[in-house]
Every structure is written in structure tokens, then in C-alpha cells.
């Protein structure tokens, strides 16, 4: 599968990583969180609000509005507008598409934002109407939400490849250690492997610390040309490669690999690098089994070697393969669709020297993945980006 004719993403700058700090519950609406994120983008970049001529939005709790209603709500008049209902893949896909718009000149300054509120009953209400298939074929079966489906996937993976709970624990404990230096992380108390193992069971074999905590918050970045970023004196990351893939491997009766595997050769070829060259990874981490699969599917080890891989590597910020350096959703929390931006925003921070107190030393290349929308028995949307430091070539 050769994609050599694909054009690169040269000349595009990904800049101004912002986070609206997470809270467990909020009485504000999604509009509030997205509005705060845009205000931060404007403030941090020094541009005028009206300079934003492109907007890409992802949110689960914006109804009955979409990105369309937001333009009026927030007083924007973009000439490029997108609304991506891709949950955990929204950040990756937003950057991939916005980059093309910048290259083509369809827009000059694109704000990519994701944000959600979380009321006390939001999560339950989202689950029952998440998708047609969820309403018809999963929610009536115990109403466990994604926990049940990922319990199937985790149990099956463990049996097939001999993974132990401790292997998943290594991922969760390392991410917690990373989160200790992240000011907006919901969990900033150290987690030991013993505590991980002893946690209460949620859906066998998934236990408490395998699950993300739903919360409210927002994340965003600005995309523009490199020239514009330099004019504005904004540190930026370059987009070296991007892929997206939906409903991959639909012939697999249960998820054992993600769409990343289908496109990884294209991804690395586009960036002209190998997995070994990557300095840090921001993997989508709704459950640790998915992190483990991504080491395999994105070429850091062979299929089935994930357990051995996490045993042989240290995943903390100063480790041999820094993973989810903010703490990931497992420790920062999952602010709805903003969970699909968490890794992107953190990678841009790391590559632009904006992660004070938790910088990965000398990081030049970062990989960001996305994984979104459990419409039935797995997440359907996958994608990946390779980002480089603005001065990396």
C-alpha cells in the first residue's frame, strides 16, 4: 500500500497549546468551555479574535448546537468551518484537515478546539444515545458503557498474548507519575502498583484505575503558516505526517488491533523516520490495553509483544519511551471530546518548550494518536500524527 503521491504538510505550524482546567462537574455548558479555550488562544497568541478565519470544533455536549451555532454564539465569522464528531480521534483529524486548509489558503488562522461540560448525570445520558448501534445492541446489555466492551477486549487480549494485570498497571502507574507535575490533572496523588492491583473491580478484568474519569474541560491549538507563526513570534511544532482510518479491520470479530497498523508505514514514510527516532508518544489512553496495542500497531514492537515491551521500558518522562507525559486521560481525566486533544496539546507543549517542570529532555519528535467512538464493539476512528520541533529541520 504505497501512498508516495501524498503531499506533505510542509509549511504548517501547530502552535498555542491551551487547556481550560478540568473540573469533575460543572454547571456551565459546553459553550462556556469552548469559549474559554478560544479566549485563551486569542490571549496567548496576541491575535485579534477576528483574525480567526477557520474553526474546527469537537464536543459531545454542545447539542442542540454544532460548530455552526457556536460561530454566532461566540461572534466569529470564519470562512472555513468544521465539526468533527470523532471523540478521541478529533484532535488528530482536526490537525490533519486544518493543515490542508492552511496549505491551500482556504483559511489563514484556524482554531481547533474540543470541549465538553460534565453535569452530574451527563455521562449516563450520553451513553444511552451514543450511537444507533449502542442504543440497539450494547446499552440494553448491562448498561456498562465502554467499560463492558473494553473489558471484553482486555480479557481477550490478556488470554491471547499472556498480558497480566501488572503489565497494564505499569502503564497506569507511569502515567500517574507523569501527572504529578501537570497542574490541571484531576489525579495528582502517587499511585503504586499495589494500589492499582488492589482497586475495586468495575467490569472484570477492568478495575478502577483502568478507567478514565469523566470531567469537564477544553483543549485547543492554532494552526497557521510557519511564516505567520514566525511573524507572531509564536513557538510552533511542524506537522511531519498524519493519517486517519475509520472502521479498520472490520473482519476481526473482536478488536485485537487498531487502524494505526493499517497506515503506519505511510505515516513513518511521510515523516522519513522510524519508530526508534520518536522521542515521546502521546497515545490515546481510554484503557491501558489500548496503549499497549498502540506500541504494537505503531511499530514499537511486534503484535503480541506489548506486555514484554512495557516490562522492558520505562514510560515516565525521563524514561526510555516517555508516554503520555501529561499523565494522559487516565490521570488528567477525560473531558469528553477534549480527551481527543489532550495528547496533541501536550505534544505541542513538549516540542515548543512550554511544558515547564515536566519537559522531556531534548524532545524533537513526538507521535500523537487518536482513537474515538465506541459505536458498537470497538472505537471506529483511529489516526496518528508525527510532530517535529519548529526548528527540527
Amino acid at each position: 500500500m504505497t501512498r508516495s503521491s501524498r503531499k506533505g504538510y510542509d509549511g504548517v505550524a501547530v502552535a498555542v497549546p491551551v487547556t481550560v482546567p478540568y473540573v469533575r462537574y460543572s454547571t456551565h455548558g459546553a459553550h462556556w468551555f469552548i469559549g474559554r479555550a478560544l479566549a485563551e488562544l486569542v490571549r496567548e497568541s496576541g491575535i485579534d479574535k477576528d483574525d480567526i478565519d477557520g474553526l474546527c470544533v469537537s464536543s459531545f455536549t454542545l447539542a442542540p448546537d454544532t460548530a455552526v451555532g457556536l460561530t454566532q454564539h461566540l461572534g466569529l465569522n470564519p470562512r472555513w468551518l468544521d465539526h468533527l464528531p470523532m471523540g478521541g480521534a478529533s484532535g488528530v483529524v482536526a490537525v490533519r484537515r486544518a493543515a490542508r486548509a492552511i496549505q491551500a489558503g482556504d483559511a489563514d488562522m484556524i482554531a481547533c478546539v474540543a470541549g465538553d461540560t460534565n453535569h452530574v448525570d451527563s455521562f449516563r445520558q450520553t451513553l444511552g444515545s451514543f450511537s444507533l448501534f449502542a442504543r440497539d445492541a450494547t446499552y440494553p446489555y448491562g448498561s456498562g458503557g465502554p467499560n463492558a466492551m473494553f473489558a471484553f477486549i482486555t480479557a481477550h487480549y490478556m488470554r491471547t498474548y499472556g498480558a497480566q494485570r501488572e503489565d497494564f498497571g505499569r502503564i497506569c502507574v507511569a502515567q500517574r507519575e507523569n501527572a504529578l507535575a501537570t497542574p490541571y490533572a484531576m489525579f495528582r496523588k502517587p499511585l503504586t502498583l499495589d494500589e492499582y492491583i488492589a482497586a475495586r473491580v468495575i467490569a472484570e478484568p477492568i478495575h478502577l484505575f483502568d478507567c478514565v474519569m469523566p470531567c469537564a474541560g477544553a483543549e485547543g491549538v492554532l494552526l497557521m503558516s510557519e511564516a505567520r507563526a514566525r511573524d507572531l513570534n509564536l513557538p510552533f511544532a511542524r506537522l511531519l505526517a498524519a493519517t486517519e482510518r475509520h472502521n479498520a479491520y472490520r473482519e476481526d470479530p473482536i478488536m485485537i488491533r487498531g487502524g494505526w497498523a493499517m497506515d503506519r508505514d505511510d505515516l513513518y514514510a511521510q515523516a522519513g523516520i522510524k519508530p526508534d527516532d520518536i522521542d515521546l508518544v502521546q497515545f490515546y489512553d481510554d484503557y491501558p490495553v489500548i496503549v499497549m496495542m498502540q506500541y504494537e500497531d505503531l511499530g514499537f514492537c511486534e503484535k503480541g509483544e506489548g506486555p514484554a515491551f512495557v516490562r522492558s521500558r520505562t514510560l515516565t518522562r525521563e524514561g526510555s519511551l516517555p508516554t503520555n507525559t501529561s499523565g494522559g486521560q487516565l490521570s488528567v481525566g477525560q473531558a469528553g471530546a477534549a480527551g481527543g486533544y489532550l495528547g496533541l496539546v501536550e505534544a505541542v507543549r513538549q516540542l515548543t518548550g512550554q511544558a515547564p517542570g515536566r519537559a522531556v529532555p531534548d524532545a524533537k519528535l513526538g507521535l500523537v494518536s487518536g482513537f474515538g467512538m465506541v459505536t458498537y464493539d470497538r472505537c471506529v476512528c483511529t489516526g496518528a500524527l508525527i510532530l517535529g520541533r519548529g526548528d527540527s529541520r
Binding site: R124, R135, G144, R159
Partner: protein, 417 residues
């Protein structure tokens, strides 16, 4: 592997009776095809008429060839349990009250992967299992993972019992215990493990053969019940409605007239008074009591059975007024079903062909034996289905009616039964 159910303890009258909760019942219109099949005890999935691919979850277009010609067809439930979990947390009240709850992911041999409720007696993954379908407490179809061969006491599996209306350890009212059909139903319920059967009798001076044998059974109590009398229904309800778990309304009047064979409306009115208004009176008195006890422990109120007739679907002119009364009763039973649903009480309609009793004396065979009607009722309760067409005649009429109701009407008008 299933623990045999023991007789539930007597209810503690000090404790509040729990209110019924239902599993999530929202479904898309296309997914109701699964429910429609499950309501008559069939496991059907959509199959593409162009490329034969089996579809699940239900769809509006084939996931292989995009054809819109998807037809619900009976399927084999044979498959492989790929993975399983036990939920210890749920976002829904119904399941929260029932945790832990076992679930499975099954790949059918015919293709698709299905999420199922997994019985405790089903083997651990990976393993061969069968997928079966049931109506859940909300009356919507759900898939079950069951062992390949039925295990001991499987009907008493706690998950299965949530879906079904097994008479074991339950208390039933049979509205007419005297007739051959009534006696057969009473006997069948006792044999199925019912704790108490109240057998209604409207005319105590009539001693029908066999009645003594019924009343001699320790589980059976004869109770006065005349469905033409609101007072009679109300009095019995005052005594037993708060204890009845299953109502079986088999009382009927059956005369063999069309319109011109008999002057006046007296016979038709008598049929209506029992077959239609009797159901109405009974439902008004007993319905609310059953609904209040939809979650009253392991032997809660659970079902309402109506003995209708296959003639309810299309008028059989030689029994024309009877057919009309059964059609009216069917319509009312649909209303009753809608009103009982929020409490999880299943309304089961039985549509037998001609029963081998006095009123069908002149009809040629085949006729369904009273004992077969009774067995069909017990099976319907155990399977938890909604609509039952017992016997060969009923099955044949049903097939003809489904194929083309107008053709059946013409055939019946020409005397074809």
C-alpha cells in the same frame, strides 16, 4: 451448574415492596424486527437478499454490498464465545439492582459478533455457545448466551428468570377452572410448580366432570368469579389480587353463529360480555395490583395470559360473532400490554385454532386438545413470549394471514377453513 431455586421466603410485610424498574427499552425502528421475532419465540437476524450476508446490529443497508433488501430470517445461534466480563458497575438502575451481571461477546458461525447476556451456566470463554433470544423485562428483545445443550435447572438461572415468567413458586388465577380447557390449565400449572392456583367458577351449581379431581389438589382453591359481574370481579380482587402473580383469562362464551343464522343480539352480547367486557373488568381490578408487584422478590407478579382465538385475526363466518368478540379482545389486550409494560408484566396472547370442545363438535379435525392448549400456556410462560399460535391449524392460518390477509378473508368467505 445452575443452582436449583429454593422456595422464596415469605414476604416480610414490614418491608416496602420494591417498585419495578426496567432495562433500557429504547430501540431504533429497524431493531424492533428482533423484538417482533422474539415475541413469537424466534431468533431472526437480517439477511441480505442480494449477497446473503447476515447483519448485526440491525441496519438499513447491507454492510457488504449496500443492498437495501434486508430481510428478517431465522438463524442458527451456534457460535463461539470470544470473551466475557462480569459487570460490577452499571449506569442503569435495573442492572444496578442486579449486579454482578455476566456478559459475553459471541461470534456467530454465520458471521456477526453479538453482545449477549451470558447465563451463569454458560461455559467460560473461549467456548462454543448458542445464542438465543428473549424478551427482557421491558418487553424488548435481547440476546442470551446459553450452553450448547441445556443444563440442569437452566430455567432457574437468575438471568433467564428475569426474562421469563416461569410459574414455578408463583401464584396464578385461572378465570374459568371448570371447563375442559380450564381444568387442563390448572393441572398444568400445578405440574409446573405453581404454589397456588385459584380456579374461578361462575356457576357453582354446575358440576362438570373432572372438577373434583382438580379441587382435590392441595395447591388449588375454587373461587367464585363471574366476569359479567363487576361486583364479582371486584370481590375476588379484594381477596386475592394482591397475591396473584399470573392471571390466565380463559373464560369465554362461544356460540356458533354468523349474522343471519340467529335473530337478535343476545348471543353476540353474551360473547362480548365475557370475551371483551370480561377482560376489561378483570384488567381494571387485577391490572393495578399486578403492576404494583412487578418487582416483588424472586416470585414477583409477572404475566397476564389471554385465551384468544385464531379467529381474532380474520373472521370465520360460521363463528362470526365469536370471531368479532375475540378480535375486540385482541385489540384490548394490546392496550393492556402497553399499560402493563412499565411494570414489566408480560401480556401473552394465545391464538389457538379450534379447540376440541363441545362448541366445536361439528368442526372436522384437526382440533387442538385442551391439554395442548394448557401446555402451550405453560411453555409460553417459561419462554416469556408474547404471542402463541398453538397447533397446526393456528400455525397454518397464521402463515396464510401473514402472507396475505385479503386472500385469507376470501378463502374463509368461501367456506375454506
Amino acid at each position: 451448574m445452575t443452582k436449583q431455586m429454593t422456595r422464596p421466603k415469605r414476604k416480610n410485610p414490614v418491608l416496602r415492596t420494591r417498585l419495578p424498574t426496567l432495562p433500557p427499552w429504547g430501540r431504533s425502528r429497524v431493531a424492533l424486527g428482533l423484538t417482533a421475532a422474539a415475541a413469537i419465540g424466534r431468533f431472526e437476524l437480517q439477511q441480505c437478499a442480494d449477497c446473503a450476508a447476515i447483519q448485526y446490529p440491525p441496519r438499513e443497508a447491507c454492510h457488504v454490498c449496500l443492498s437495501a433488501r434486508l430481510q428478517w430470517k431465522p438463524q442458527s445461534g451456534a457460535g463461539r464465545l470470544l470473551s466475557e466480563t462480569v459487570l460490577h458497575h452499571s449506569n442503569d438502575l435495573f442492572f444496578r439492582e442486579r449486579l454482578p451481571w455476566r456478559l459475553g461477546l459471541v461470534q456467530l458461525d454465520v458471521g456477526p459478533t453479538l453482545m449477549v447476556h451470558l447465563l451463569d451456566c454458560a461455559p467460560a470463554a473461549p467456548a462454543r455457545v448458542n445464542v438465543d433470544v428473549r424478551l427482557d423485562r421491558a418487553g424488548q428483545a435481547v440476546l442470551l448466551g446459553v450452553p450448547e445443550t441445556e443444563t440442569e435447572h437452566m430455567a432457574e438461572d437468575r438471568v433467564l428468570r428475569e426474562m421469563t415468567c416461569d410459574p414455578k413458586f408463583r401464584k396464578a388465577l385461572v378465570t374459568d377452572g371448570k371447563t375442559a380447557v380450564g381444568q387442563a390449565i390448572v393441572k398444568a400449572l400445578v405440574n409446573a410448580g405453581a404454589d397456588i392456583v385459584w380456579a374461578g367458577h361462575a356457576e357453582p351449581w354446575k358440576k362438570l366432570p373432572g372438577l373434583d379431581g382438580i379441587t382435590a389438589l392441595p395447591q388449588v382453591t375454587l373461587v367464585p368469579l363471574d366476569l359479567t359481574s363487576a361486583k364479582s370481579v371486584s370481590e375476588l380482587a379484594g381477596e386475592v389480587a394482591g397475591k396473584v402473580d399470573i392471571v390466565i383469562n380463559n373464560a369465554e362464551v362461544h356460540r356458533t353463529y354468523g349474522i343471519s343464522a340467529r335473530r337478535g343480539a343476545d348471543a353476540a352480547r353474551a360473547e362480548m360480555d365475557i370475551n371483551y367486557f370480561g377482560l376489561l373488568r378483570l384488567a381494571q381490578e387485577f391490572g393495578p395490583a399486578l403492576k404494583g408487584r412487578g418487582a416483588d422478590g424472586p416470585a414477583s407478579a409477572v404475566a397476564w395470559v389471554n385465551l384468544l382465538s385464531i379467529y381474532a385475526l380474520s373472521n370465520y363466518p360460521p363463528h362470526g360473532t365469536y370471531s368479532a368478540s375475540k378480535a375486540a379482545a385482541l385489540s384490548l389486550a394490546q392496550c393492556l400490554r402497553a399499560e402493563m409494560r412499565p411494570a414489566g408484566i408480560r401480556v401473552i396472547n394465545l391464538f389457538p385454532g379450534p379447540i376440541d370442545d363441545d362448541w366445536n363438535q361439528l368442526l372436522p379435525p384437526p382440533k387442538i386438545a385442551p391439554a395442548s392448549v394448557a401446555q402451550a400456556i405453560v411453555k409460553a410462560l417459561r419462554d416469556g413470549v408474547e404471542d402463541v399460535y398453538p397447533g397446526d391449524v393456528a400455525q397454518e392460518w397464521l402463515a396464510r394471514w401473514r402472507e396475505n390477509p385479503k386472500v385469507l378473508e376470501r378463502e374463509l368467505a368461501a367456506g375454506g377453513s
